[in-house]
């Protein structure tokens, strides 16, 4: 115990590490805020950059970028309705209406505060319950991941706007587009029409930048003369009473985030969407109706995606299995520095575990300070006339799209998705479900087929698994509950109507 504490103190006693963590958080906030520039990309760039560095210093920088980057994605979602990363899509649903009401400062202030709280929940879970959660997450079968994806798809009811049929249609188009490219399990080409550029599939980040960024810019140009809302920046930090009010929701969503983050292959994006949906279903008296600027709709996804950071480290540090894309890159960094990630990592190099816990803790404190300091300059962005800001947004969208795989073709896709999104908005089709379909489509397809192959392509054994396996049964019942909770009978019973 004493030794663990000593390991924990390593970053606190090194000014270089402290500086690197703070610099990482600062850079991460900006990288995360730009659509297309992801934490994954920043972490992979840093691996090559820090190749010759001491491992402790490299990890300090990457941890800082990770924490800052996940937070930064929400800033542009709130201010401009353009999520910097898929994990911030849900935040924009409530955050952007708040910015239009002149409450961007308060929204970002609340987002920062609950984010820091959730980061600590994730870190606490990592340091206390890592082996237990890691072993449990390994019990998830493809059928369970399929059920998780189905739960995700049910979010269309929450983010689909007013018309559920249009939401489902947009979501199904997203799933269909996610099928484009080479089937990962058989190598068969689907919807590629002999085009080499389509073989790798359509990146959902490209689609997200177009559907949110460019389509938002085009929609804004319909009202070119309209003035941007004046922001009230007098009181930014939420009061203690406000924080306490949202504490139960924050705890619930952070724990959901930790668990989803700990599942290999799922990260902050799925966690944030599930948490938003969960909040929408369970919060009885939101500060405003959901969809019009409910603060609860910011608290839930933000705490979930920050909780997922600590969660993603759990399987990585205990079993050597990445919880998400960033931790996969960190595993690569450990290999480069001569370590062997796996079950022996914590036994052979216990200092590494406690040092990462410590780096994440310092990064969370840095996030609190840097996040709150940047609220006013960030919120001022929205007051810039849209005739000036929107051309810059388009240029940023181009940079972000090109940076994904250095392809001009991706820019054309992005613009195409932007035009499609613009027309969709005109006819009342929400763009969120389409991105959701693009994100969850491959997860649905791959896990359904794996589960079916596990049942030897027999329908009955496949269906039996849903009720005979405890985890599958729990998830199936959760889905039944989610569907039931949408019915009038349930809503009347719970007093929502």
């Amino acid at each position: 115990m004493e030794q663990s504490f000593q390991y924990f103190l390593i970053p606190f006693l090194s000014w270089e590490m402290m500086l690197l963590i703070w610099a990482g958080v600062f850079a991460g906030i900006w990288v995360g805020a730009i659509p297309g520039l992801s934490v994954t990309m920043a972490a992979s760039l840093l691996i090559s950059f820090t190749f010759s560095w001491d491992l402790n210093h490299a990890l300090a920088l990457i941890c800082g970028v990770f924490v800052g980057g996940v937070y930064g994605g929400s800033i542009t979602a709130i201010l401009l309705n353009i999520p910097g990363a898929p994990a911030a899509i849900a935040t924009g649903i409530e955050g952007y209406p708040l910015a239009q009401l002149g409450e961007a400062g308060k929204a970002i202030g609340l987002c920062t505060t609950v984010s820091v709280f959730a980061s600590f929940v994730g870190i606490l879970a990592l340091s206390v319950a890592a082996p237990v959660i890691a072993n449990f997450s390994l019990k998830f079968s493809p059928r369970d991941f399929f059920l998780l994806a189905v739960m995700g798809i049910l979010l269309i009811g929450s983010i689909g706007g007013g018309d559920p049929v249009k939401g489902v249609a947009a979501g199904a188009v997203g799933v269909l587009l996610s099928m484009v490219g080479m089937d990962p399990s058989t190598g068969e080409l689907r919807y590629t029409f002999g085009n080499i550029h389509l073989m790798a599939g359509i990146s959902f980040v490209t689609a997200m930048i177009g559907l949110f960024g460019v389509s938002e810019a085009l929609t804004q140009f319909r009202n070119a003369g309209k003035k941007s809302p004046k922001q009230n920046l007098d009181r930014i930090i939420p009061s203690w009473a406000t924080f306490v009010k949202y504490l139960p929701l924050s705890i619930r969503s952070s724990l959901l985030g930790v668990f989803i983050g700990a599942l290999p292959g799922t990260g902050g994006d799925v966690a944030a969407l599930l948490a938003y949906d969960q909040a929408k279903r369970t919060v009885r008296n939101p500060s405003r109706p959901f969809g019009t600027g409910a603060y609860e709709g910011i608290v839930a996804p933000e705490t979930a995606n920050k909780g997922a950071i600590g969660g993603a480290f759990i399987p990585m540090l205990t079993l050597g299995i990445p919880g998400d894309a960033v931790t996969a890159i960190i595993i690569g960094a450990l290999y480069i520095h001569g370590l062997k990630p796996g079950p022996m990592l914590m036994i052979e190099t216990p200092h590494l575990f406690w040092m990462i816990v410590s780096c994440l803790s310092i990064a969370s404190v840095a996030l609190m300070v840097l996040g709150l300091v940047s609220v006013k300059p960030f919120a001022k962005i929205i007051e810039i006339p849209k005739e000036i800001i929107m051309p810059v947004v388009i240029i940023l969208s181009v940079i972000g799209t090109y940076a994904i795989q250095n392809s001009v073709v991706d820019i054309f896709y992005m613009i195409g998705f932007g035009i499609l999104g613009y027309f969709m908005r005109l006819y009342g089709y929400a763009t969120g479900p389409m991105v959701l379909g693009l994100i969850l489509g491959p997860m649905l397809d791959a896990n359904y087929r794996r589960a079916m192959q596990g049942a030897e392509n027999q329908l009955l054994p496949f269906l039996e698994g849903f009720v005979t396996n405890p985890i599958s049964l729990f998830l199936t019942l959760s889905i039944v509950f989610l569907v039931f909770s949408q019915t009038k009978v349930y809503r009347r019973w719970r007093g929502f109507e």
């Binding site: 089937d183 070119a224 940079i399 001009v408």
Partner: protein, 173 residues
């Protein structure tokens, strides 16, 4: 902490808790081109299903299962939207299809956007982005503040290049 809480916002609590039900009220009139949009969606679903027929099938885990399912779902949903649209009245005094879909500002920005994309591989990032920003800003400000537009474009481009190219080492188009 008490000092802090007394001077800080009450907005989340004080926000009006009036339920906005307008999104649930179906529109009485259909928007210009609404039927066409639903028909295009249906066509997309039909084409998706048609091309999925070429994929390997025959088993519950075949690669064609989800493409067929998604295509069928698109056809079903857009079919419902189409039928619902047919029941609505056509808007009489509203804008025409072209004015509704593409107001002049959107047309100009779209043309600029396509021209920018085409010019990008030829002129490279800095000149094409600079031209796009200057022309876009000048047009959207109705020809006013040309010098300001040039200065803002140059400054923002310099900042973007400095941050992305040199700080984050991102390759620009």
């Amino acid at each position: 902490m008490s000092d802090l809480s007394s001077s800080l916002p009450e907005a989340p609590e004080a926000a009006p808790a009036v339920k906005d039900l307008s999104v649930f009220v179906p529109e009485a009139h259909r928007r210009p081109g609404e039927l066409g949009a639903a028909a295009l969606g249906f066509l997309l679903g039909a084409l998706g299903y048609y091309f999925a027929l070429d994929m390997t099938s025959g088993e519950y885990s075949s690669p064609s299962v989800f493409p067929k399912f998604a295509s069928a779902l698109i056809m079903a949903c857009t079919g419902v939207i189409l039928l619902r649209g047919l029941k609505k009245d056509k808007q009489k005094d509203g804008p025409g299809l072209a004015a509704f879909l593409l107001p002049m500002d959107v047309v100009v920005v779209l043309i600029l956007l396509v021209a920018y994309c085409v010019a990008l591989p030829w002129l490279r990032f800095v000149p094409s982005s600079f031209l796009f920003m200057v022309i876009g800003m000048v047009y959207l400000q109705r020809g006013k503040n040309i010098v300001r537009a040039v200065l803002i474009s140059a400054a923002s481009l310099a900042v973007l290049v400095a941050i992305f190219r040199y700080l984050f080492m991102v390759i620009l188009p």
